[in-house]
Symmetry: C2
Subunit: 156 residues, 2 copies
């Protein structure tokens, strides 16, 4: 799914002002409304744009502490561990990886003390052999996609 320059501008525009409508978008982009509409539809059905879900800030919800945990799993316990982690609300994402650990997950907690509770809950499961945790202090580059979109749009 390659995107062209116009697609790139659409995504950029939506990222800056998510609430603008298709009409306003077409005006800014200098194209007909139907074109903007069609491009947007295509981007969504292509899966390039997954959706427009609200971005919720865990910190504002009372979970200001973020950490990454690397887990080592007992052979064959993968599926069980995944199911277990999926039931923990504080586990925001989970990946299986190559390398020293077998899985890596992102956690949030109400405080450093609360993080202990979360970790206990995460690792308090039979299939998990070992866990090592890194607490996030700063987040110099928050999750972003714009630079990548710009790069992808220019390679057309």
């Amino acid at each position: 799914m390659a995107i062209d320059h116009l697609d790139g501008r659409i995504i950029l525009l939506l990222a800056r002002e998510p609430r603008i409508g298709v009409l306003e978008m077409s005006r800014r982009l200098g194209v007909a409304r139907g074109t903007a509409q069609a491009r947007l539809d295509r981007l969504q059905s292509n899966g390039v744009i997954r959706g427009f879900g609200p971005e919720v800030d865990p910190a504002a919800l009372g979970y200001p502490v973020t950490a990454f945990a690397t887990l080592q799993i007992r052979q064959g316990q993968g599926p069980d561990v995944r199911a277990h982690l999926a039931t923990v609300p504080e586990v925001l994402e989970l990946h299986t990886t190559t390398g020293t650990g077998d899985m890596m997950c992102r956690l949030v907690a109400r405080s450093n003390a609360d993080l202990q509770r979360v970790i206990d809950r995460v690792v308090g499961f039979d299939g998990i052999v070992r866990a090592s945790t890194a607490i996030v202090m700063e987040n110099p580059v928050p999750l972003r996609i714009i630079p990548l979109v710009e790069q992808a749009a220019e390679e057309t």
Copy 2:
């Protein structure tokens, strides 16, 4: 910033059907439009809802490979390394952490071969002493916030 049950339902609803308007929202929630409007405004100015930016799938853009890199930084080089990493489009996020590594970043690449190029670019900087990379194979739990919102909404 605590959220109550109604706030929780608003976020849930927006997560399921991001494109609905305030009017439709108020109908689903069984409250007056002004109420829904006010709650939504409050959630946004509180920072609980950061925005509604489009969720772009790197894989659909041609970057199907994700990896996490743990970096060790030479004393005092933190700021320079951050600035360097911020210029690399394939660095989707960057955290400074406690633990063995000093920083942790999420990378994407066009292929495993391309990942080598990305890593070379990331670590090809003076302040970085060592880097270890874990390639993501599966993503059993994609980044999510709903379970946490539900938990936060019930604790009222």
